[in-house]
């Protein structure tokens, strides 16, 4: 893992400040919305990275946590919980939900694990679609976190705060005993378990943190567009995007998810007019190319080539 000594923390802080100051300069809501999406998915990718990157567990069910965050926030706010309390409470609920899911899915390996994560997210999506409480297929309106003229600017800054938090957690994990245990599980779960690592417990812990961050992202997303439907926040597309962003940049690296988010959402933005509804075509092509030619992702590949480990 890359070290974070000397000039690096300062350079990173400067980069974050530069990104943040865009919120003050840019008066264009469209531009801020694009930036919001990119930074949000960088944060989500970093959250996914804990489970999919460090622990090597290919979850394609993170939409469940994203949606739980968005719906939890909307429902709690509707029950007149203060907005910021609702935001964090929704994330706690999503993490508790992850605790239940994790106990079941982490007993499974490889494709079985991935399938079970998809099945959980789909059961949640279908239940939300069919229940009255959650507004069914029609959806729920979500309160705005910010009011006033610079709503998108504030949302963009919140997304930056989320991404920075997720990044700091990734740095901590990459250098801690906890992180080494996760990587040991990724490399060889049997051996990790044989040398006395409680694999189930560490995988579960990584999922809890990941789900908490993902749910915060979901709630932010919901409040940004002020309206959620099951097909916008609980669809498998969200799970796929989180995984692709991370894989594209490099799973298990610190900068990978950030680079991946810029590439993927940038490409989606550029090709939006050419392909319109078929934007997933671009994602599909990117995935196939990465798997064939850059299995370690852009950052992973560069680190290997230039020995920046």
């Amino acid at each position: 893992m890359s070290s974070l000594r000397g000039w690096k923390p300062w350079a990173l802080a400067a980069a974050v400040l530069a990104c943040g100051s865009l919120a003050l300069v840019a008066r264009n809501d469209y531009l801020l919305q694009v930036l919001f999406r990119i930074v949000l998915f960088a944060g989500l990718g970093l959250a996914w990275n804990l489970v999919g990157g460090f622990a090597g567990q290919l979850s394609l069910g993170h939409a469940a946590f994203f949606g739980a965050g968005a719906y939890g926030f909307a429902l709690l706010s509707a029950a007149s919980t203060p907005r910021w309390v609702a935001l964090f409470l929704a994330a706690v609920v999503a993490a508790a939900f992850a605790g239940i899911i994790g106990r079941i899915v982490f007993r499974l390996r490889g494709p079985y694990f991935t399938l079970a994560t998809i099945a959980f997210a789909e059961v949640l999506r279908l239940s939300v679609t069919n229940l009255k409480l959650t507004g069914g297929a029609i959806g729920l309106s979500t309160p705005a976190l910010f009011s006033g003229r610079s709503t998108w600017g504030m949302l963009y800054l919140s997304a930056i705060a989320l991404a920075v938090t997720a990044f700091v957690i990734n740095v901590y994990v990459a250098r801690s005993r906890f992180g080494y245990y996760l990587m040991a599980i990724r490399e060889d779960e049997e051996t990790a378990s044989a040398v006395g690592i409680d694999t189930a417990s560490y995988k579960l812990r990584s999922l809890l943190i990941s789900a908490f961050l993902t749910a915060l992202g979901g709630a932010l997303y919901g409040s940004a567009f002020q309206f959620i439907v099951p097909d916008s926040v609980l669809t498998i597309d969200i799970s796929l995007q989180m995984a692709i962003v991370t894989m594209l940049g490099g799973a298990g690296t610190l900068y990978g998810p950030v680079v991946g988010a810029i590439m993927l959402l940038g490409a989606a933005e550029v090709f939006k007019n050419q392909f319109q509804e078929s934007h997933l075509l671009v994602y599909g092509i990117l995935i196939v190319l990465v798997v064939l030619f850059l299995p370690e992702g852009v950052v992973g590949g560069l680190q290997r080539r230039f020995g920046g480990r």
Binding site: L115, N130, E277, G284, P295
Partner: protein, 288 residues
Amino acid sequence: MIVFFQACLNGLLTGALYALIGMGLALIFGVMRIVNFAHGAFLMVGMYVSYVLFDHFGIDPYLGFIAAGLFLFLFGQLIYRFLIRPVRDRSDFMQILMTTGIALILTDGAQLIFGADYHQVNIPLVNRTLRFGAFAATAASLLSFVIATVLIAGLYLFVTRSLTGQALRAIAQNIEVAQLVGIDVTRIQGLSFCLGIALAGIAGGLLLPALYLFPSVGDDYTLKAFVMVVLGGMGSIEGAALGGLLLGVSESLTSLYLGNQWALAVDFAVFLVVLSLKPSGILGRQRT
């Protein structure tokens, strides 16, 4: 009671088509150890092949399904050669990503070519109802059922009796030993991949008269195919056929008692219960 048995009958009629889909997935998994997340997308391609033949040349879907199967067998060769073989020895993680990528390309590619509109084929067989005492079924669903049953039986005989079929099962049981006794593993794996995909295409062709066609129609079937295959024991072809029939009946009964909108949710709930209680499936044995 009549209603209950009628629902079971409907479930079995759909279930035979599901069995074809599930057997295709099981064949690929058994011989290649690759979980094909693009299975439903290939089914969708089969539906579009049959639809185009019907729409442009007036070819009946009950002939078109053969073309769909052949097309996918050949298309499968290309996919196998350029996209699947390179990841054959890579981690599950990479294989799942690869097939997911293929699924996205096929689905959104179809959307780019054919648009997001819903299509339907209108053939007289769909509207003709046959009655057997208290029970009823459309002529189209009966014909699909008969064709599917013949194909299932044929596939079963092929896998158990023919030399190629035996090679196929040998690889599924132990790939190293299969190699040692002189089986051309690469060729057999390619064959089973194409065959598995062709089965999805055939099932797509046979489902066409009964469904609305749109680019993401196959998405649910990928997940359903997994449910069948896990129900029957991953990699067991007979098990997958049984899983298909069970799934058809369970969906039909769910629609009857809880409403159609819950059918898929119940599928997944059953799937999670089976996965957590008996991951080797109903007929399967645990393999490493």
